[in-house]
Symmetry: C2
Subunit: 463 residues, 2 copies
Amino acid sequence: MTSPQDPSSGATQLDERPWEEMLRLAQEGTHVQLEEYVSHLSSADQALALSRLDEDEETQVLEAMNAADAAELISHLPEIEAARMLALLDTSTAAAIVQELPSDEQADLLGDLSDEQAEAILEELPQEEAAAARELSSYEDDEAGGMMVREMLRFNDSMSVRDVIQDLSEHGEDYSDIDVRYAYVCDAQDRLVGVLPMQNLLFVKRAERLSDLMIRDPLSVQATASLDDLIELFDAHNYLAVPVVDEQGKLQGIVHREAVQYEETRAAESDYLKSQGIVGGEELRTMPLWLRARRRLSWLSINVFLNIGAAAVIAYFQDTLQAVIALAVFLPIISDMSGCSGNQAVAVSMRELSLGLVRPTEMLRVWWQEVSVGLINGSALGVLVAIVAVMFNGNPYLGIVVGIALFANTIVAVSIGGVVPLLLKRFGFDPAVASGPLLTTVTDMCGFFFVLGLATMMLSKLI
Amino acid sequence: MTSPQDPSSGATQLDERPWEEMLRLAQEGTHVQLEEYVSHLSSADQALALSRLDEDEETQVLEAMNAADAAELISHLPEIEAARMLALLDTSTAAAIVQELPSDEQADLLGDLSDEQAEAILEELPQEEAAAARELSSYEDDEAGGMMVREMLRFNDSMSVRDVIQDLSEHGEDYSDIDVRYAYVCDAQDRLVGVLPMQNLLFVKRAERLSDLMIRDPLSVQATASLDDLIELFDAHNYLAVPVVDEQGKLQGIVHREAVQYEETRAAESDYLKSQGIVGGEELRTMPLWLRARRRLSWLSINVFLNIGAAAVIAYFQDTLQAVIALAVFLPIISDMSGCSGNQAVAVSMRELSLGLVRPTEMLRVWWQEVSVGLINGSALGVLVAIVAVMFNGNPYLGIVVGIALFANTIVAVSIGGVVPLLLKRFGFDPAVASGPLLTTVTDMCGFFFVLGLATMMLSKLI
């Protein structure tokens, strides 16, 4: 990456253990040296370094920096980590840092603190900012209110171009962190009445009124609009931001496209973690051991009971198994392969649901599309495992039993894997979380039943 | 969502089967009626409707629309679907649609077509645009060259503010689709020398030269910069776009923040699909059946051989199993529970790697963090399964065998699950793809070995 503004970054990024230098500078150096060192680290290395310190050391580093730089530093951390560090600091330091964050990040972090901690920090903030943060943190992270910022250009419709240009030159400093491509125009009752692309001001006389220049009846959303609504909106329109209004049409803030994309990425990552059994959709190894163990165990406990249910099928057929012990060798293969086939179908259903290419009601359609694949792959796998079985103990009937069982169970697995996510979505459950264990349990039960049931029927041929 | 510009959308979105109306209008209506109907569908419904038509019908719809609206319509589809539809159209229609797409989407789509198809379309494009598209499609989708667009404001450093304003008012129409917040300033040799925030022009005299107003030595990237480089850059800087230069510093295009975020989301989704055994990271059920079956089967075949390897452990201990048939009931539980524990560890390692909170070399650190959780959860699960085993056949030694085996194998599973993604990443493999099967196979082998090995040692107590 060409970066002529920052010629020294190559050298400092070589640090093997940046947290040690960070701590040393916090303890021995000036805050300017510390801030300069941190600013030369990549944002990933900043997050890495800070998360490697213990709680005392983290506090020392954050307290040694000025609030704006500390805010910048913790904004590179995962939200849950940033909130944890904020809780370590004394209230006035924490409040100073919070004040430097954009309003949506303020709200997210305060929402992750305990009510007392959040309240203590809010009391240190200027009254207006505290009221705003209180209101924003009442929204979920993934609705428009939780993603919006209050930092924007906002003018009254009676202002002239000259008034705006004067305001810009007087408040240039305040506006340095905000997106000044668009201004939002309100009437005397604070109701949003127009949007003004700022570059248009280049073309007009300075005496003109904003009400004559603005785009009227602009698109807007309510603070309760969902992430899906916003994804849809930014997909359909090439906007950088969309204004948020309350029920009276009063302008509350704007949601930037990048905030929506950030939440979309976060939701995808969280879905992946949930689908792998990380309850809550987030775990970092810096989190307390007991919390990590307990959350993982809650998932494992559900699975162990489901597994015991499936194992009951084996127990039921113990006599058959005793008579043909070779079957025991093939039970885990049937179980595992059906799990693999089913997971593939789950993944494709999740993808099509997220793209909107399938509706939750179209179960029959998905089922048939999966069965077509299942017939082909089930045949291939069934023949393959049948050959292995015959080679294993020379009895062709063992091959027939395990081959047919794997064929049949592949079709069961892709059917369940394809349809269950739609069903869960339709009834308001999270398909990422619940598909896996349901799938595994049912396919295990069916698979064991097919192998052992068939074997029981053909027992005379197998012994 | 408040949408005063579009009062009718509520009514038309109720269509159960929008593809039927779409086809009817393509066959019987005017292109204006068709375009209006399509524009009232949400972008997800547009994608859904188009993908539900057969190939002839898709062609009829796309050919009935004007090229700009057809381009808008196919841009809502997953890339692979959009390319497939483009390939169905006659070359001149396809070329007209391609011409309406932004340059990065042109390059992505052409890259997904066969060389002959892409070449045929390129020959129909204006020479300059074809050359540009040829060059862009030589880059991977996830490097800066593949994400950049050529649509931008680009001025010479000798121009005055007056020249720029005159250019804007003359070419306003051409600039309607591009981001005019920043202009990029080049010298006479086309080398990037500055960036100009357009709103600054509001504050200056019209006779001033751009070279005196622009921000000099702007940040830029090479066309080969990776997705990770760009994520890092946009994370560290609050820019909307970054200019791309060649080795001589000549301006090639700009990469928008949203293009980077789109690729980031796509990469996360693709990782999820790969981790579930969807080879290539993409499958839609509209893809040809044999392709879907073949790709899924390629993954299943690897797994079946790995499974047979694990089953060989059971075969080796057949005599023990014959003697204590109750063990067969518990083998799938051990295998499945260890798989669950291991997957949790894989997911957390993937998350920490993607956040940069762990480096691929820090295997020992991760191993220890996982073992701590494994000791707790392994004990809990081991005791639970031991109790079930004792309840099942009344022999306390059966409980001891399966309990110890599950305890030990949970530790094996979280160790492998935590460390293998780091190892794969370190040696340049894709951790999302390879972690799963490696984990399952090794944990199955160990789990079966623990249960059956322990049982063999304690055989006299178990019978």
